[in-house]
């Protein structure tokens, strides 16, 4: 058994019985843990982990977060307005959170609070089983997660102010293994904007494992932005499973700026007629960072659509991996799928792996996908320089414009501008150049 799995086994054995058994999920947790131990970590032969090696990670040990209060750099939260839920080293921090005053129709609760209560409906997602042996982190999450964000919006309720979910990693005596499980549920015709922030208060090499469930009932509209600006030493495994009922809109943008390793699986099932997904992201893989995004989009119902706009950049010894999987099932007639993945490869030692995979089993489908890997356009650079803009600034301008493109999918200029500002700041900090 790898050191990593051994350390998770130890962590599982140390979980309080009350947590394991809460809401009758004891068997599910034990089952998930034993499945992890039986199947082990996926290696390079596993199709879904072919381009992201877990070897380095598997040799490490992590421990669970303890309950000792930790200090958080206040500046991290200065620009994040209420309502917000703040989690520090995976634990809900009620003092830093601001959810006392919420608009009518939205319910927000920490998973830890729900588990401590007696309303089993609050944590129904915990009963879900993960059958595939490459779903190791979802299983680990199912076994070990004790906290997370539970968000519900009532039918016909439009929440105007964005809800911010803030996850802060803080250095600890040992590297931590942190598991969070989230549920965002919008009832019929509800609308909400969620902004996730993954930040770090100091250098840390924790392993962050997020599993987020998104349930959109008919007519619901969710805008979901995720800013991943983790510490350069951190490892982040994120999985989002979204289920879209009829006439829903899921607008989602992921901006990946930090972490040593960031792997995101975004699975969206378009199950109701007229469901629409708009998903995009910017993957910044510089330094020695490894950024991997894996889309699993499934058109189940008729007249569903997805528009996917992803941009990647690899520089120095960074590696950006993108898998755009779209499956149009039999019966999903009249569906439309558009995938665009463009990448900038800015050094000879960087790597980009992009793989659009489109599988169609329905009729009258419109599908288009394109993936490119290239360098900055020299003729455009020359144009900018011929107007007096120094080469370095010209490159930064072009890179910024390239990576910002997906942000428009959010259809929310305030949130998009805030993400763009973080992106610019990050590009300025590292002086990304070609």
């Amino acid at each position: 058994m790898s050191a990593l799995l051994a350390s998770f086994k130890t962590a599982f054995e140390a979980l309080p019985t009350a947590l394991v058994e809460a809401h009758g999920h004891g068997d599910a947790r034990r089952g998930a843990m034993s499945a992890v131990l039986a199947d082990g970590l996926p290696g390079h032969r596993s199709e879904s982990w072919k381009y992201t090696s877990l070897r380095a990670l598997s040799a490490r040990s992590v421990v669970p977060a303890n309950s000792v209060a930790v200090d958080v750099d206040a500046a991290l939260l200065a620009d994040i307005p209420s309502p917000r839920m703040v989690f520090v080293n995976s634990r809900f921090d009620s003092a830093l959170s601001k959810i006392d005053v919420l608009p009518a129709g939205i319910e927000v609760q920490a998973l830890s609070q729900a588990l401590a209560g007696d309303d089993a409906r609050a944590s129904f997602v915990l009963g879900r089983r993960f059958e595939r042996n490459d779903e190791v982190f979802a299983r680990l999450n199912a076994a070990l997660a004790g906290d997370g964000a539970l968000v519900r919006v009532a039918a016909d309720t439009v929440i105007v102010e964005p809800l911010h979910l803030v996850f802060i990693g803080v250095p600890a005596a040992a590297d931590l293994g942190l598991h969070l499980r989230h549920l965002i549920e919008l009832r019929d015709n509800a609308a909400l904007t969620v902004v996730e922030h993954h930040l770090s208060s100091g250098s840390q090499r924790h392993l962050h494992n997020h599993l987020c469930h998104v349930h959109l009932k008919p007519g619901a509209i969710l805008r979901h932005a995720r800013l991943q600006d983790e510490d350069a030493g951190a490892s982040l495994i994120t999985r989002t499973d979204a289920v879209l009922a009829s006439n829903t809109h899921y607008r989602r943008v992921d901006v990946e700026l930090g972490a040593a390793l960031s792997r995101h699986e975004l699975n969206v099932s378009l199950q109701g007629e007229g469901a629409r997904l708009y998903s995009g992201g910017a993957l910044l893989a510089d330094g020695r960072r490894h950024v991997d995004t894996r889309l699993g989009i499934e058109h189940v119902a008729r007249d569903t659509s997805c528009e996917l706009v992803w941009r990647g950049l690899a520089n120095e010894r960074g590696r950006a991996v993108f898998h755009g999987g779209i499956l149009i099932k039999a019966g999903a007639d009249g569906s439309a799928a558009m995938l665009s993945n463009k990448n900038l490869l800015l050094s000879d030692t960087a790597e980009i792996d992009t793989q659009p995979v489109l599988e169609i089993h329905a009729d009258e489908v419109q599908a288009a996908h394109g993936a490119t890997v290239g360098r900055l356009d020299e003729s455009v650079l020359f144009y900018l320089r011929s107007r007096g803009i120094p080469a370095e600034l010209a490159r930064a301008l072009l890179i910024g414009a390239f990576l910002r493109e997906p942000l428009a999918l959010l259809d929310d200029s305030v949130v998009a501008d805030a993400l763009a500002a973080r992106l610019s700041l990050r590009l300025g900090q590292t002086g990304v150049s070609g």
Partner: protein, 253 residues
């Protein structure tokens, strides 16, 4: 202001300019005419500093400085402007932002104070009104979705805003209808001054009906083969470039 001596330029292993000499004084408008493939655009590009243009011999001085030693952005800040034959589209880079970045980068290079957004916009509006361009242009990405004519007018707008000492117009007239051509020519004429020189590169004589040159040069096979007054352009129009070839053939034989 600009002095080119015996310039030899190679592009992709091929000799394009083969001993071009030219002197342009402040306040003058020079037209460079010539058949396709003569090296007209190469001249504009090599002056602006585009990569891939190898100077194998000769010199270019601009205000007594070695122009060829400068990076493209330095040449711009020194006062050289190239209006592109094919302006590129830059999706995602806002036109206003781009113009301000360009202007302020040049000002910084010259040791001038940078313009704040208020002062910058004031200047932009002045230039826009002179050119009869719409504000809307400013909110779009650089040249993105612009028609051919809009792109060319945007070049001239940049020229007006950046106020270079030497403006090189590389076939700015190509692809313009007569109204757009007049508008571009009007703008250029407004900018003529004793301190500013223009190098107008064109294949056709018609632009020179509206921008009256002081000197017309004929560029053929990488060299200036004939120079004269505005009447030279008319002769070319009448006889075609074959006429020039005939005239130079005996001399080079």
């Amino acid at each position: 202001m600009l002095k080119i001596e015996n310039l030899h330029v190679r592009v992709a292993g091929k000799d394009i300019l083969k001993g071009l000499s030219l002197e342009v004084k402040a306040g003058e408008v020079h037209a460079i005419m010539g058949p396709n493939g003569a090296g007209k655009s190469t001249l504009g590009n090599v002056l602006a500093g585009r990569e891939g243009y190898e100077v194998v011999e000769g010199s270019v001085s601009f205000e007594d400085k070695d122009l060829l030693a400068f990076e493209p952005e330095q040449r711009a800040a020194e006062g050289v402007f190239l209006a592109f034959q094919y302006p590129v589209e830059i999706p995602g880079v806002n036109n206003t932002y781009f113009l301000r970045a360009a202007l302020n980068a040049q000002r910084k290079y010259r040791g001038e104070t940078e313009l704040d957004s208020m002062a910058f916009l004031k200047r932009v509006r002045e230039k826009l009104s002179v050119l009869h361009l719409k504000d809307e242009l400013l909110h779009r990405a650089v040249n993105e979705g612009f028609s051919g004519g809009e792109k060319k007018r945007n070049e001239i707008f940049q020229l007006a805003l950046l106020e270079p000492k030497l403006a090189i117009l590389d076939e700015t007239d190509s692809g313009l209808d007569i109204d757009a051509l007049k508008a571009v020519a009007d703008s250029v004429n407004l900018m003529r001054s004793p301190d500013r020189a223009f190098l107008v590169i064109t294949h056709y004589q018609r632009l020179l009906d509206y921008i009256k040159p002081d000197v017309v040069h004929v560029l053929a096979d990488g060299r200036i083969v004939e120079s004269g007054g505005p009447e030279l352009a008319l002769q070319l129009e009448e006889h075609g470039y074959a006429w020039v070839k005939d005239r130079i053939a005996p001399a080079s034989a």
